[in-house]
């Protein structure tokens, strides 16, 4: 059995130390991402399943399809801007400032051999065939989430803009590609929706260790116990290198926790509702 389990904090919920995991900009980025994603999903699904009754009801509810398309495009543009800002950030840190940690190492989003070993180790632990792997700053499923969004952004974004500005894209795309972009856009969009609203929700928020939601992406900080439990390798490394104190953050204020709970709950409820609608439409 994993040796870390028993050390898990049965300690008090008050008075403990808090460590920073996400910067303010990263948290805002996540907020923009999930807001626009909910918007895109909510306006895209009625289109994908335009034959279903709820799709028509939803379209009528927001003022007909003209309004739905407008919101879909609006969210798309905002999300595109956020994505470009993120790319610029990577470029500045990685290329301009030569911060190699962006591309390699324990703080990078780039997958490495340990992630593969962690995945298999984790699977073995699920069925009781081995110890629970110790994760570093970003676990393999978190990296997968990141790259799924990254890839999805490019694929869905490109196919979406190709439909939006079809006559322009027709200058350099073959004829069949104009047919393909809809298939790509809707299938990849469906994958993103199903993945986020089921897998990501459970992996990150609804699993017993984080239930009902992981607040770290809202508050930016997590308790020392949580840090030790979820990312033991990073904790130990920082401690070893004497950098742990540098990551100390302030305990989140009550209003922020409450606000985050409300926002997070709304997001999860909307997501689960859309998931149920999608599944009913898909299997009916």
């Amino acid at each position: 059995m994993p040796d870390l389990e028993p050390t898990v904090a049965t300690t008090t919920k008050t008075g403990g130390r808090f460590f920073t995991r996400f910067t303010r900009q990263q948290r805002y980025m996540h907020a923009v991402l999930f807001t626009t994603f909910l918007g895109l999903a909510g306006t895209g699904l009625p289109l994908r399943f335009s034959e279903s009754i709820w799709a028509r009801g939803l379209a009528r509810g927001v003022g007909g399809f003209g309004a739905i398309l407008f919101f879909h495009k609006l969210c798309a543009v905002v999300l595109t801007i956020a994505f470009l800002i993120h790319l610029k950030e990577i470029f500045t840190r990685g290329i301009v400032h030569r911060e190699m940690g962006v591309f390699w190492g324990s703080n990078s989003m780039v997958a490495n051999w340990k992630d593969a070993k962690d995945l298999f180790g984790h699977l073995r632990w699920f069925v009781g065939l081995g110890p629970k792997p110790n994760f570093d700053r970003y676990a393999y499923w978190e990296k997968f989430d990141y790259w799924a969004v990254f890839w999805g952004m490019i694929v869905i974004g490109f196919s979406g803009y190709a439909m939006w500005f079809a006559p322009f894209f027709a200058h350099f795309l073959p004829g069949w590609a104009l047919n393909a972009v809809l298939v790509i856009h809707s299938e990849e969009g469906l994958l993103a929706i199903l993945f986020i609203f089921s897998i990501h929700f459970v992996n990150t928020h609804l699993r017993p260790d984080s239930f009902p939601m992981d607040m770290v992406v809202f508050t930016g900080v997590e308790s020392e116990e949580e840090f030790k439990l979820k990312r033991p390798l990073e904790y130990e490394r920082l401690k070893r290198e004497g950098k742990l104190e540098g990551r100390l953050g302030e305990a989140p204020q009550t209003w922020l926790i409450n606000f985050s709970r409300v926002v997070g709950t709304i997001a999860i409820v909307i997501g689960l509702t859309l998931l149920v609608l999608t599944l009913t439409a898909y299997f009916s």
Partner: protein, 416 residues
Amino acid sequence: MGKAAGVRRILQEPLASRAKMFMRSGILVAGLAGLLLMFAAGRLNAQSECLACHGDQTMQDANGHSIAVDGKTFGESIHGSLQCNDCHTNIKEYPHPEQVAKVECKSCHADEAKGLAGSVHADSAEHPCTSCHGNAHTIFPKADSRSAVYPLNVPKTCGNCHGTEGMAKKHGLASVYPLYVDSIHGFALSNEGLLVAANCQSCHGSHHILSHTNPESPTYKTNIPKTCGSCHAKINDDYEMGIHGKAVAAGNLKAPVCTDCHTAHAILQPTEAAFRMQSTPICGSCHKDQLSTYRDTFHSQLGSLGGYVETARCWDCHGAHQILPASDPRSPINKANLVTTCGKCHAGANLSFVQYQPHANAHDRKLNPALYFVRLFMNVLLIGTLAFFLIHTILWLIRARYNQIKKKSTDGGKDA
């Protein structure tokens, strides 16, 4: 026949022309005049004599039916110049018999009676003339707005029967009046007062109305284009040149005529949202494969949701009446015309753009190989990713919950 009929005919003429006839004719007239005088001696002549009693508006017969006549209105009506016993023929003197003979309109209106005899309204007991023309004493020429068969009044007159559920029960006929009233024809008639707007008899005729199953009926399937074309001449010309018109002319009764797409009574303005929303399934009721592939496109997905009706419907690309195969150079979907056709909605449409296939089938490997494999790849990606992570995450959930419970039990349930 003979004398009696001749007399009656003369009696029907207005006085002035009667006088003229007397003057023009020689011996015959003299003879007839003699006869006439013989009859006239004992008979009631003036309306005023009858109206002396029947002008009383409260007058009723033994059964309680009103037998009153409004002399003023009758005088203005189309029969106002006739004597009462021109129609009520067995009344010749006062007091008159209790039983009054049935009035036979056909004794004068023989052509109408003949037409009616072979029609769907042939049963005169069920459909007396008055059922359409109204009270026999207040019949006006059809150009008079007081007439029950004045163009603007026709739908209401027919609707007296064809607007009730009783018709459906008795004869299996739909209640069409409400459908007509909301149609573009009904709207033009009732709201704009357009005398030329099609009313019931414009299509069905008036006395000689035949069932639509009768090949002689103007509403028989193959006659419908001509019937509608009597007003919509240009559209009929287009239709006859189109693939549907040719098929119908060649005897293919499966091909649509006007009413198959526009319906017969509930005809809508085609540019109206309601018609745009309902038009595609109508074409699709025959063109099933095309409807199915259309459903997969953005045109359909957008267009299926109410409130956004601009997206291409079948006839936006194929034309509506003069539908021609893509091989025909006049067809809007002929290769040479595609830039123009697509360009109607897609500003900047170019040769490459129009290679888009509005009926591509992503499930057909032979017809659309590229699309087929794109869809296949996306499906494998979708199913593969979800399947792996579903198993992964469900196992994780079970394991994490198991550990949590185990921990709680060692804690004595403190964290429960």
